[in-house]
Symmetry: C2
Subunit: 141 residues, 2 copies
Amino acid sequence: MEQRLTIVALGVRNLEESRAFYGVAFGWSETKSSNESIAFFQLNGMLLSLYPRDKLAEDAAVDPAGSGFKGYTLAYNCRSKVEVDKTINYLRLHGADVVKEPQEVFWGGYSSYIADPDGHLWEIAFNPYLKLDDQGNIIPE
Amino acid sequence: MEQRLTIVALGVRNLEESRAFYGVAFGWSETKSSNESIAFFQLNGMLLSLYPRDKLAEDAAVDPAGSGFKGYTLAYNCRSKVEVDKTINYLRLHGADVVKEPQEVFWGGYSSYIADPDGHLWEIAFNPYLKLDDQGNIIPE
């Protein structure tokens, strides 16, 4: 397998609410392939999709029951601490649940977390050890 | 916010088992920044990380309790149905739990799912409507 991924699919309980959250709070635009059943956002080389949670479980042929911590997080890395603060403030103003305020963390970064309407966690962080190119891609070591 | 993500972090119960799974079944190599506490894999413009589940919850300042369907999936898109079959066979031989055998699906694709040692779900699929470049990045519409 090549070292890559194609899609991160988030199961959501209310598709309209979630697409509004990513459209307004994140300010992201959907692709033309999005429709009333599913939303796609073109990210760096991959897609984020929003799909009803029960249908996502059905697609994977697994029991949809589940609760609590989802056991994973996504990260959006900023290019400075100031950008982290600005991003968190903007997200908060637009309805995001800030679960961890921006703060210095033990590994040398500056990190915060928000939850989307379904509790999908996004870390908004500055990591001085990660180098981003002009498109926001991580430059390989 | 730019339309991108930087890291997908998977919470794992046994880091050695999980890094062996991604190293052997997926055949992926870790970055130099990986150490005994965390594993990183350079993907297309972003990183996949493996980190102890309880520590990931602690980092996000949320309760680590959680069970059942995680409410999200990751996808690895192949360039043909044959590649899906070969990939699933290889993964199965190397210990992956195949939760959905490759099959035609209603949206016109050919799809299967495997679970990693912690139940993180990966869809292994061929989607005739998604165009991949030579590096495996999705070509924007």
